[in-house]
Every structure is written in structure tokens, then in C-alpha cells.
């Protein structure tokens, strides 16, 4: 029997609320941000928290709270885009390798081993550095270096499901590969994909922020949590809020999305054996 939303552990419910709140902030940023995040004010540079500027201002006098709210927009959008691209590549190749096996699987596994054998962050930086400077380079760089793990997990799950009696049963009933993949394999790996996707959103946020911090992601003056941390690093001792605010945003979203993944896994998983033990 499936777990219902109301039966989830309170920590999962809290995580879902946190993630939804951050997404809501990102969507409603123009309406809830108190100031224009790009508005430079020379008279108000590096101000501490006050009633006027709740989180203070940065080195160019921009309101930090507004930039954190707008930063959620850029950071979350990039993280979700990167995770979706990674999922698309990883799931397609994982299913192809796991289900069809043979030479297809050997070629894909060779590619996966090559990618996993290389240092991920260094490769990401190298790819981002050689690509033309635009918003897509970040997505391409992170996707190309992180689909392999995704693919390997999906492949092992597909191999497990392929060996289940119900797949053999439907095969012996006369179903073709397209039917089996659509009706049997994909729905049964969905909980795993949901968890991996949410985990990937968290790690993509960290990767995207890291690349932005290094100046290879979103370019200033865009309000992005990674860029904000990069801008604030020289003021860390005297104005810690400048780093802590976007840092807490990244931590909360990563943690929240990971726990949301676990909650999704519980919601999507169902029992296989009979509840009634009469056998």
C-alpha cells in the first residue's frame, strides 16, 4: 500500500514546506522583494542589518534581502535545468544499456567509466572555460560531467526489473520492447528517478554556485547565490551576513530537496507481495 502525504515523517513535511517556500519566493520575487536587486546606491554601501534593509547592503549599496530573493530565481532555475538535462541523458542511456545489454551496454559502460574516472569539478571547470560565454555553458558543463552516475544507478535498477517475474510474464504473453519499457520498466524505476532527480537538483545547485563563484557560471551583476558568495568573500569578517544569507539559501534548498527526494520515494513506492498471507 502506498504511503499518503499525511503519513510522512514531520521532517519530510518540513523539508517539502522549505523547498516550496524557496520556489514560491523565486516565482514571486518581483512582488515580494523590497528593493530592485540591481539598484546601486553609493550612499548605502556595506550597511549592517536595519529596519530599512533587513539583511543590510553589499559593497555597491544593493539591498541584500532583495538579491537573496532574486538569487533564488537564478540558482533554482539553473539547478532544475541542469538536473533535468542530466536526468534526460542519464536515464536514456541507463535504460538503453540495462534493458538491451550486449554491445549497447558495453559501449555506454565504457563511456561511463571514462567519465567517472576523471575528476568531476576539474572537468566541469575545463568545459565551462572553453565554451562560449553564455548561460548555457553552465548547464552543458555540469550535464556532461554528471550524467554518468545517474546512468549507472538507472541501469542497475533496469537490470533488476528486467529479471522480475512480471516482466518475464508479460514477455511470454507477447509484449514487445516498447510496451515493456513504457508500461513496466519506466513506471517501476520512477521512484528511483524521483530520488536521483531531487538529489541532482541539490548537487547541481552546489556545482552551479561553485562555477559562478569561480566566475565561470552566471556573470555579475546577476543576482545568483554563487555570485553573491564570490562577491562577499573579501567582506566575510566584517559583514558575515553577505556570505551567510546566500549560503543559508543554498544549504536549506539542498537539504530540503534531498529530504523531499526521500519523501517522494516513500510516496511512490508500493509493496509487491500479497498483504494477505494465505499462500
Amino acid at each position: 500500500m502506498r504511503t499518503k502525504l499525511g503519513q510522512l515523517h514531520y521532517i519530510y513535511k518540513l523539508a517539502i514546506i522549505v523547498v516550496l517556500s524557496i520556489i514560491l519566493c523565486a516565482v514571486l520575487a518581483p512582488w515580494i522583494a523590497p528593493y530592485d536587486p540591481y539598484q546601486v546606491s553609493i550612499d548605502e554601501i556595506l550597511q549592517h542589518c536595519s529596519a530599512k534593509h533587513w539583511l543590510g547592503t553589499d559593497a555597491l549599496g544593493r539591498d541584500l534581502l532583495s538579491r537573496v530573493i532574486y538569487g533564488a530565481r537564478t540558482s533554482v532555475a539553473f539547478a532544475v535545468a541542469v538536473a533535468l538535462c542530466t536526468m534526460l541523458v542519464g536515464v536514456s542511456l541507463g535504460i538503453a544499456g540495462g534493458y538491451f545489454g550486449g554491445i549497447t551496454d558495453r559501449v555506454i559502460q565504457c563511456l561511463v567509466s571514462m567519465i567517472q574516472g576523471l575528476p568531476g569539478m576539474s572537468m566541469m571547470i575545463a568545459i565551462a572555460a572553453v565554451l562560449p560565454e553564455n548561460d548555457f555553458r553552465l548547464i552543458i558543463a555540469v550535464t556532461l560531467t554528471s550524467w554518468a552516475g545517474f546512468s549507472r544507478i538507472v541501469r542497475s535498477e533496469v537490470i533488476r526489473i528486467k529479471g522480475e517475474t512480471y516482466v518475464e510474464g508479460i514477455k511470454s504473453l507477447g509484449a514487445g520492447n516498447r510496451y515493456i519499457l513504457k508500461e513496466y520498466v519506466f513506471p517501476n524505476i520512477l521512484p528511483v528517478i524521483a530520488v536521483l532527480l531531487t538529489l541532482r537538483i541539490g548537487t547541481s545547485l552546489l556545482s552551479a554556485s561553485a562555477l559562478s563563484y569561480l566566475g565561470l557560471g552566471v556573470s555579475p551583476p546577476a543576482a545568483d547565490w554563487g555570485v553573491m558568495i564570490s562577491d562577499a568573500r573579501t567582506y566575510f569578517r566584517s559583514y558575515p551576513v553577505m556570505i551567510l544569507a546566500p549560503g543559508i539559501g543554498i544549504t536549506l534548498f539542498s537539504l530540503g530537496i534531498n529530504l523531499t527526494g526521500d519523501a517522494l520515494c516513500e510516496l511512490l513506492s508500493i509493496k509487491k507481495g500479497p498483504e494477505n498471507k494465505e499462500m
Binding site: I170, G273, P274, N276, M279
Partner: protein
């Protein structure tokens, strides 16, 4: 001659000839483990043919090979004059319509994400049978002594016996001519076993189905089969009519098996 059903005619529906199957084992030093050795037999149309033997004797592998769920090394498997091993994937899917298999473990035989109604409708969808076939489902449920309110439940909400009957019903919608049963009652309790066997008898009164029945249970095979084959370590030692096998077994292994059965 037939104990169950009365449609026994002397015509082979399935001919298995010189089928061999082996697996490679070992990571560094490869060894060949022989599973089936030169298996040859015919299944006559309308009969119930039993296959028995110890665990690991190759019974289940043999019927998996017949269904082409496991590839064979050599030999031919002819169904209605067509060598199943030479069929293309598309032709093989078509041939499944006339030849169906019932698996041992009913708990994992149905997709856990589909309701019983959806699972029962699958053969109709896959083989693009007329929608009127859907109307046969209530009749089949009656024949299988199942209530109609099971249709909207998921597999985990049913008992093992109910699930096995649902699996059987799903196969019967295709009106197969040959049914391969891989120990279909071994995971069920005795009363449910008896119920399944009774249902099988009733089905064979209505449809002239040929059955290849794999089981450890000699008593069960004796009750339902016309002929029984005994397998040991991948070889088909002997294949005889039931009375002949129990009265004049030609192999020592069969004599030991029957003695153990009588002692038990």
C-alpha cells in the same frame, strides 16, 4: 487414456528435439555447466504431460527454453510445424498467442503498479484483440471462482491463490492451445492447490488445452497427467504413460523416486 479432459488425439502439438543448454561459470577459469542434455520428446495435442525430477534437474529451464525466455545452445523446438528457435522477434510475439506460461510465484507475476483489471486487459491490448473480448473477463472470473470486486485492487491486496487464478485467467483470455505450467501450486497451501487443480480440470472440459506441467509433486502429476517424464541432471530419463511409469519404471532413479513417494 486421458485422466483429465477428453480431447486427447494422437498428434504432436509440440516437438522438442535434441535440445541442449549450458551456462558458462567462473570468473577467470571458465567452466561449462550443462543444464539440458539432448532432450527429445513430443507433446500430443490435448494431453497433459508432466515433467518431474529433483531441484536443478532442468525442468524449469526446459520450459523457459520452449517459451524462448532462455536461449538454447542447439536443437529444435517445433510448434505446429514451425521451429520456434528460427522465428524473428515479431513472429515470436505472434506465436505467444497460442502458447502461454504460468509462473511459480504468483506474488511477483503481476505488475505491482497495475490494477487487476488493467493486468487482465493486457493480453487484449498487446494482441489487439477485439474490444468485445473484454466482456469475457467476468465469465472468466466466475470460472476461476473469483469475485468481481477484486478487479479494482492491486496485486499486493490479493492472496497467493487469488493471484495465481488471476494469472491463469489472463492467459486464458488468449485461448492458448498449449499451456506451460511451472510448478504453479508449489507456493500455495494444500486447499488452494486443490482449488487450482479443480479449476484446471473445469477449464479443460471447456477448452481443449494441451498442458505441459512441471512439478516436484508426484501425487499431483499422477492425478492430472496422461504421461509423465522424469528428469535428472539435465537428461530426460524416461517418458511413459502414468500407470506404466508407476508400475514398470525402467530407470533406477525413477524407481527410487516412486519408492520415496510411496514411503512418504
Amino acid at each position: 487414456m486421458s485422466v483429465v479432459g477428453g480431447m486427447f488425439r494422437k498428434m504432436a502439438i509440440l516437438s522438442v528435439k535434441h535440445v541442449c543448454k549450458s551456462y558458462k561459470t567462473g570468473l577467470i577459469k571458465k567452466k561449462t555447466k550443462i543444464i539440458l542434455q539432448d532432450i527429445t520428446f513430443d507433446v500430443q495435442e490435448g494431453e497433459v504431460l508432466g515433467l518431474t525430477g529433483a531441484s536443478g534437474s532442468g525442468k524449469s529451464t526446459l520450459i523457459r527454453c520452449i517459451m524462448r525466455l532462455t536461449p538454447v545452445d542447439s536443437g529444435t523446438i517445433i510448434m505446429d510445424g514451425t521451429d520456434l528457435l528460427q522465428l524473428s522477434p515479431t513472429d515470436l510475439r505472434q506465436s505467444r498467442k497460442v502458447m502461454q506460461m504460468l509462473f511459480q510465484n504468483p506474488a511477483s507475476a503481476l505488475n505491482p503498479r497495475k490494477t487487476i483489471r488493467e493486468s487482465l486487459a493486457e493480453p487484449i491490448l498487446i494482441h489487439q484483440l477485439p474490444e468485445a473480448t473484454l466482456k469475457e473477463i467476468p465469465g472468466i472470473l466466475d470460472m476461476l471462482q473469483l469475485k468481481k470486486d477484486l478487479l479494482d485492487r492491486y496485486p499486493h491486496q490479493l492472496s497467493g491463490g487469488e493471484l495465481q487464478r488471476i494469472c491463469l485467467g489472463r492467459l486464458l483470455l488468449l485461448r492458448p492451445r498449449l499451456l506451460l505450467l511451472d510448478e504453479p501450486t508449489s507456493m500455495l497451501d494444500v486447499s488452494v492447490q486443490a482449488q487450482i487443480i479443480e479449476i484446471m480440470r473445469n477449464i479443460r472440459k471447456e477448452y481443449p488445452i494441451t498442458v505441459l506441467f512441471v512439478s516436484h509433486d508426484l501425487a499431483l502429476l499422477k492425478a492430472v497427467c496422461d504421461r509423465i517424464g522424469v528428469m535428472e541432471q539435465g537428461k530426460l530419463l524416461e517418458l511413459q504413460p502414468v500407470e506404466e511409469l508407476f508400475q514398470h519404471p525402467s530407470e533406477q532413479y525413477t524407481r527410487d523416486l516412486i519408492r520415496a513417494f510411496n514411503d512418504f
